[in-house]
Amino acid sequence: MSDSFCSLADLFADSSRDSLCFGYADTTRLSFGSFRAGVARLARVFRQRPEHSWCLVAQDTHLFAQCFFALLYSGKKILLPPNAKRGMLEELSGNFEAIATDEQHLLEQGFATVFLPEYVSLPSLSVDGSSDLILPGEPLSSADCEVIVFTSGSTGDIKAVHKTLVHFDAEVAALELQWGACLSDGLVLSTVCHQHIYGLLFAVLWPLAAGRPIFNRAVYYPEAVASILSRHRGEKGQAKNILVSSPAHLSRIPEYLDLAPYRESCARIFSSGGPCARETVADLWKRGALEVTEVFGSTETGGVAARVQENGRVSSNGKDYWAPLPGVEVSSKDGLLAVCSPFFSEDSELENSCFVMGDSVELSDDGRFRVLGRADRIVKVEERRFSPAEMESLLCSHPHVAEASVQILESERGSLGVRDIVAVLLVPSKEGWDVYSRTSRQSFLAELKTLLAGRFEGVLLPKRWRIAHAIPLSPQGKRVAAEIRVLCAAPIASRCEPETLSIDFRRAELRLEIRAPADLRVLSGHFPGFPVVPGYLLVEWSLDSFRRFFQHEAEAQRFESVKFRRMLLPNERCVLELRYSRGATRFEFTYRDGDGVLCSGRVVLRPVSSDNREESEIREEEDVRAEGEERKEEVPVLPKEYHSEERARE
C-alpha cells in the first residue's frame, strides 16, 4: 500500500498532503495544495447556492475532481450523467436542480449553471495556492455524501444507482490492497471517461486516495497515449505509470504504433467495461509483451473481480477465470452471479444482501468464476427460447472466429408480413481471414453453419451472416447494438454489394471500410480468368452508401470528374469516403487503400424537394449551360458498358 494512502473522507482534513503531486496538466506539475485550494474556492461558491442536487459533467479531470469534493464539502448531492449531450441532460433533468460544468455549450440550454473555469482558472492552479483558502479541517461525513451514477442497460434504458462516499472509500481501499504494492507513484492516464463508475474509481478517486498524480484529461487516441506515457518516464526513466483503459482502446492500437512506451512506462494496464477479446490480449502480448489486467464489475456493484488472461496463446483453457477483489464474495444463484461486497448499498434489489447480476456463471472450487454469457439476453424466436450469448460462445469456440455478435432482426416477407430471424455479425480470427480470402464466402460459412446446426434447431439457425473487421464498441467498450444491427441489416442479397467492415460516420463525412466480395455476381465474364470489380459498381456503391447514411431518396443527376486510378480486385479491402455538406446538391466520393486513391469523383444530385422543385430545376439547367464544356467529359448515368470499356482500356 502507498505510504500516502488516505481515505477519501480524510483527504482534506489537514494540509499534510499539500506537497504531494496531485496531477499533471500536460507537463505542468500541480501540487495537492493547489488542488485543495481549488476545492475550497468552489465549495464557497456552492455553499452560497440554494440548489441541493447538482449535475456534474466536466471534460477536465482536474476540474471534475475539484468540483466533486467541493460539492460534497458543501453538503450537496452529486449526479453524474454519462455524457453532456443535451438530450441526456433533459432526460435526467428531473433528478437535478443545477449543473456544474466546464462545457461552454451547456450554458445556453436554460439550466441553472456554474461554469467551473470561471472560479478555478487553470493557470492559477499551477501556483501553489494553499494559503488562499482553507477547508474546514474535518473529515467528510461519508454516509451523507450522496453520489448518483447511471448505467445504460443493454436495452438502452437508463438506470440511476445510488452510492455514498462509504462505498467509494471501501472500494478504493480494496483496489489499493489488491494492487497498491506493485504500483509506485506513476502517472495515472485514462482512455475512459470519468463520468462512469470505472473511470471515476480508477482514474480519479483511487489515485487521489493513494497520492498518485492524475493526468488532466482522458486521452482517446493511442498515438497521444504513447507520447504522454513517453514523456512521463520519471527522472530515472523508471516511472511506473498506470493506464486505465478499455477493450475499445486496447483493440484499436494501430499496428504501426510502437508499443514500447506502453511497456516501458506502465506498471499496469487496466481494462474494464467489457471482456477483452482473446485476440486483443494475444496481439498486445505478441507486439509488445503487454499484459492487461481486466476488471469485472458493474455500475450497481462496483468492482467485482479481476484477471490477467494468458498471453501469447489464443487458447484460454482455464485462464479466463475471474478472481474476486478483496472483500468481495461471489456465489451462484440459479446459475447467475451473485455478489456481496461493501461497495454498494444494502437496500437496492438485494437477495440476502447479495446483488444478482445478469451474467450466467460457473464457479470453480478455489472461489474464482467464469462468465458464460449474459443470461438476460434470452429472447424468443418463433416461440423458442433462444440465448444469443450461447450461440456467440459456440461460434467463438471455432478457430476461424475471433468474435461474434448474434442479433434478432425482422425480415420482411412481403404479403406474409414479418418474421424474426437470427443474424450473425462475425469477426474472423487471423486464421479465419486466411480461409475466407483463399476460399469463398460459402465455404467459409459452411463449417460454421454445420457447427451451429449440431446444437440449434432449424428456425434458430442464422439466416444472415455478415463478416466484419470489428464489432462496433462504444468508448466504454460496450457493444453498440444499434450499429451492429445496421451492419447485419445491410443487404448482400444481390451480391453486387460490398461487405461493410466498419462504419465511421460524422456529420459531413462518412468512412466505410468495405471489402469486395470474392463471389461478386457481376464478376463472371469481367474478365475471364482475371476478375475485376467493374468501375460502374464503385460509383453505384458510393451512391448506395450515400442513400443509406445521408438521403434515402437521393438520385443522381450526373457524375463528374470520375477517375479510375487503380483496380479493385475481389476480396480486396478498401475505404470508401463520402463528403457531403447538408443541403448541398452534390457529394464527393473517394475509394482509398493503404497506397492511395483507387477511384474518386463527384455525384450531382437530382433536386428532390417538391416545394422548390421548379426553381431548382431551372437553376440546374443554368448550371448545365454554364458548365457545358466540362460536361462533355462527364460520365452519363448508368450505361454500364461505357464504364466497362473504360476499365478495359486502363
Binding site: 425480415s411 416477407r413 412481403g414 418474421r419 432449424g458 428456425v459 439457425l461 451472416w465 443487404p491 455476381r521
Partner: protein
C-alpha cells in the same frame, strides 16, 4: 412447361423467404430444400405453403406424407403444383 414452372418456384422461394446467399438460378431442381440442403426451416415451409396457395390457388395438406415428399425439392414441388392445378 415444367422447366418454366420450376423456374417460377425457384423465384418464389428466393423472394418469399428473402434468401440472400442464393439466387433462383443457383437452386438446383433436385436440391434438398430443408435442413442441410438449402437450409430452409419449418417456418419457411409454412410460408412457402402460403405463397404457393396465393400464387397457384392450390391447397396443401400439411399432415400428409405426400406433402412432405412434394416439399423435398423444386422438381417435386413443380410436379405437385401442376398435378394439383390439373385436378382442380
Amino acid at each position: 412447361m415444367s422447366e418454366q414452372l420450376e423456374q417460377e418456384i425457384k423465384e418464389l422461394i428466393v423472394s418469399t423467404l428473402a434468401l440472400e446467399e442464393v439466387t433462383p438460378a443457383e437452386i438446383e431442381s433436385e436440391q434438398i430444400l430443408f435442413g442441410e440442403g438449402l437450409g430452409l426451416d419449418s417456418v419457411d415451409a409454412l410460408e412457402l405453403g402460403v405463397a404457393l396457395n396465393k400464387k397457384y390457388g392450390i391447397t396443401i395438406d400439411a399432415e400428409s406424407e405426400e406433402t412432405r415428399q412434394s416439399f423435398a425439392c423444386v422438381s417435386n414441388l413443380a410436379k405437385f403444383v401442376s398435378e394439383k392445378r390439373a385436378s382442380a
